[in-house]
């Protein structure tokens, strides 16, 4: 009898727990909240402010996605993840989408069973050195001590770079960007390497930025983008096209200010299609017609998000560079909304 009861209760537990469904979109809608994995704190990309409100470049993408799916950009639960826990959080379903400065690589896309939905920031790994060292090129760093964050692709790139140039180095592993800045600032390493965007932000925060230079060599390609799990193509499409909508909006001049105006109808059929006044693009991914309009209105188009969080007017002060529209010599080039 006890045995029967035991298996009965086991079955019951199984039933209680077996609410998983294959469609992330349905889960998100039922929950009324988007779970978005972000960093534990990297100013400009994703960091909580003094009131605990998350803000940043990646955060705004998540809010745009929530606006597209749920109609409200504030319905996002931000789950801080470390470099170590991020992929597990995604593949276990703890987060629906991961927007955490994650480099799109072959093995992550295939072996880790993740789907990158696009690139929201083209970055590359660089080096920062103190001017007093007299180094002008990364090729002169033979034998140097290099501060490097663990758990990222940067340490593999670094190993490859020094190997390819037949040089040696001494890695000093550090846990967070804050530790890295402190170590580099105290002179505990000759050079600090991380994504060039991060170096610029770090250099800007020093009391004496003029004494530090970022070396010209960019030793790796770091296409950073949001990603979702394998196996739910509809959700991947929604995440991908929300990003594309933000980028396309900049290309076509749709801003958070004029989006409502343009949504009344324009002469440009592609704008009309994006904003849902023409065609039925929303229904194709299981959303309503105004999904992209809401996403754009939330924090603006790609250019506005960039300018507000990491652009030249912010303390981070990044130039658009590779992240300009293809029409202005950058790499942002969305497939057509058709």
């Amino acid at each position: 009898m006890i045995k029967q009861l035991f298996f009965g209760s086991l079955a019951a537990t199984g039933m209680m727990a077996g609410f998983a469904s294959a469609a992330t979109l349905d889960d998100v809608k039922a929950r009324g909240e988007l779970n978005c994995g972000v960093t534990t704190g990297l100013v400009g990309f994703a960091a909580p402010d003094a009131n605990g409100q998350w803000a940043g470049f990646d955060v705004d993408y998540c809010r745009a996605l929530a606006a597209a799916v749920l109609g409200d950009g504030s319905k996002v639960k931000f789950v801080p993840t470390t470099g170590q826990t991020r992929f597990t959080a995604l593949s276990s379903g703890e987060v629906d989408v991961l927007a955490r400065n994650t480099t799109w690589t072959y093995s992550r896309d295939t072996d880790l069973k993740l789907t990158f939905v696009g690139v929201n920031y083209y970055d590359g790994q660089g080096f920062m050195v103190n001017k007093s060292l007299g180094v002008t090129s990364a090729k002169e760093l033979d034998g140097a001590t290099v501060c490097i964050q663990t758990g990222t692709t940067t340490e593999l790139n670094l190993a490859d770079f020094f190997k390819a140039n037949n040089m040696t180095y001494k890695p000093v592993a550090i846990e967070t960007n804050a530790e890295g800045e402190q170590q580099y600032g105290a002179g505990a390493c000759d050079t600090y390497t991380t994504d060039a965007s991060g170096l610029a932000a770090t250099r800007a925060s020093f009391a004496d930025p003029e004494n530090h230079i970022v070396l010209p060599e960019i030793i790796s390609k770091e296409p950073l983008g949001p990603l979702v799990r394998h196996g739910d193509d509809q959700w991947a499409d929604i995440a991908r096209w929300t990003l594309n909508a933000l980028i396309a909006a900049e290309e076509f001049g749709i801003t958070s200010a004029n989006a409502d105006e343009l949504a009344k109808g324009t002469d440009n059929p592609e704008i009309n299609r994006i904003l849902g006044t023409e065609g039925d693009l929303g229904a194709m991914v299981g959303l309503d017609a105004q999904w992209a309009l809401r996403a754009i209105k939330n924090a603006g188009n790609y250019g506005e998000i960039f300018a507000a969080n990491i652009g030249e007017s912010t303390p981070i002060g990044l130039a658009r560079g590779l992240n300009a529209q293809w029409t202005q010599g950058g790499l942002l080039y969305t497939p057509p909304f058709r």
Binding site: I2, L5, S9, A12, T13, G14, M16, A17, G18, F19, A20, S21, T40, G41, L42, V43, A47, P48, D49, A50, N51, G52, K77, F78, V79, P80, T81, T82, Q84, T85, T88, A89, S92, G93, E94, T176, N177, A178, E181, Q182, G185, S205, F206, A207, P315
Partner: protein, 439 residues
């Protein structure tokens, strides 16, 4: 010579000399110093070494502490104020970061309009603990301790009143089942009923009941998701819950380890040795990385809850060892006396063994608790914002406070010290009190 008399020989003294002060080396500070600081070459040497060490530490710290800045809103402002007041290149502590961000250290990102809920929970914690900690309070207060977990759950996370009520109802039902089954079926079946009834209730009826009751009488508070928890709120939540659940589990494990039944003993020993053999940090990573592999596909529950479960298991294994020590310290005669009185196993445990064994192990239990509370700082490595590193990193990452290092570490360290020191003093107080009991 005023006391001499004319008729006696001048060299004979016939009055007492007035009392004199002891020599300077035998009184006051000097005597104390000679006895306590310079009683021999070795001691003199040690004193000098100690004084030099204190001097070096003070010399390093004093300027920094003396140049403290309280009213500043950013690290740069701090530097300016210090430079203006004490000259270029002076170093000083910038406590402005604590002034501006103290709430984050304490509450994490809990909504500020709801801070009163956290404060109330914290105050009620003491009310609930008081009857357990101090024996001379009325026993009726224990009832509040029993329902406190439900109250805390409601206050901290919010939501419907009926969820904790439904959870508590399970315990009440279990007790009722035991009460009614006991005369009818005997103790064993009643115990089984007391375990099964609540489980069935929680699995099948609790949710339904809470929903129904909430439909009739919607009482509740605004929900606060656990992603808003951080700082000492997070530490205390994990610590106190872990402590509360690990004690009974630890006692059961200790009994299992002492059991005559081979299988029960093997499993208990295996569990205890496994948990004690691996670092807590690997268990936390297991909670965040692996637990999802071992649960039915699609199950997902809160990371804080997962961490609490792991921390509870971890601490239970340590408490089991402490309690085992207590059990081993009991004289064999106590067990034999219980047997001679014809008490069965559970009665003997309840009336004779456990009260004594737990009393002996209280200092050990408290020090496991201190350890557990300190270990809650490790949750940063699974992405939770603990007060020591999680919140500090968030603050150091922000633009206003970039470049600040020691201050945001020292503030939580001070609070940790106060709490842990308080707990260890309490344990010493208990130890003394219990010693008197034995006399």
């Amino acid at each position: 010579m005023s006391g001499t008399k004319a008729n006696s020989a001048s060299f004979v003294r016939d009055t007492m000399l007035s009392e004199q002060d002891p020599p300077i080396t035998e009184r006051g500070v000097v005597k104390w110093a000679r006895e306590n600081l310079f009683s021999g070459p070795l001691n003199t040497f040690l004193t000098i070494i100690g004084a030099v060490a204190i001097y070096i530490i003070l010399k390093g710290l004093a300027p920094w502490l003396l140049h403290s800045v309280w009213n500043a809103n950013s690290a740069a402002e701090c530097r300016e104020i210090i430079a203006a007041a004490y000259g270029e290149g002076a170093h000083g502590a910038c406590w402005g970061v604590v002034r501006e961000r103290w709430a984050q250290f304490l509450y994490g990102f809990y909504p500020s309009e709801h801070y009163w809920r956290v404060n109330l929970t914290f105050i009620l914690l003491f009310v609930a603990l008081a009857p357990i900690l101090f024996a001379n309070l009325p026993r009726k207060m224990l009832w509040f301790s029993v329902i406190y977990p439900a109250v805390a759950l409601l206050l901290l996370w919010g939501g419907s009143v009926w969820v904790p009520v439904a959870a508590l109802a399970g315990f009440a039902l279990g007790w009722l089942a035991y009460r009614f089954a006991l005369p009818v079926t005997g103790s064993l079946a009643a115990t089984v009923a007391a375990v099964l009834v609540p489980i069935i209730w929680w699995l099948f009826f609790a949710g339904w009941f809470a929903g129904l009751a909430h439909g009739i009488l919607p009482l509740g508070m605004e929900q606060v998701p656990s992603s808003k928890f951080g700082g000492f709120l997070l530490s205390l939540t994990i610590g106190v819950t872990g402590i509360a659940f690990s004690l009974p589990l630890g006692v059961v494990l200790a009994l299992g380890r002492q059991s005559d039944m081979f299988l029960v003993k093997t499993l208990s020993v295996g569990f205890i040795e496994f948990i004690r053999g691996v670092p807590l940090i690997t268990l936390l990573f297991t909670a965040s990385l692996l637990l999802n592999y071992f649960l039915p596909p699609g199950t997902n529950f809160d990371i804080i809850l997962r961490v609490i479960i792991m921390v509870t298991l971890f601490s239970a294994a340590y408490i089991a060892e402490v309690v085992r020590g207590g059990l081993a310290a009991l004289p064999r005669g106590q067990y034999e006396a219980a047997d001679a009185l014809g008490l069965d196993y559970w009665k003997a445990q309840q009336l004779i063994i456990m009260p004594q064994a737990l009393k002996i192990s209280i200092p050990g239990i408290v020090s496991s608790f201190i350890g557990l509370f300190k270990d809650t700082t490790l949750v940063i490595f699974v992405g939770l914002l603990d007060p020591l590193k999680g919140i500090t990193d968030a603050i150091r990452g922000s633009f206003e406070w970039k470049g600040i290092y020691w201050e945001p570490f020292l503030f939580p360290a001070l609070i940790f010290f106060l709490i842990c020191f308080g707990m260890s003093r309490y344990s010493m107080y208990l130890e003394n009190k219990l010693k008197r009991d034995h006399r």
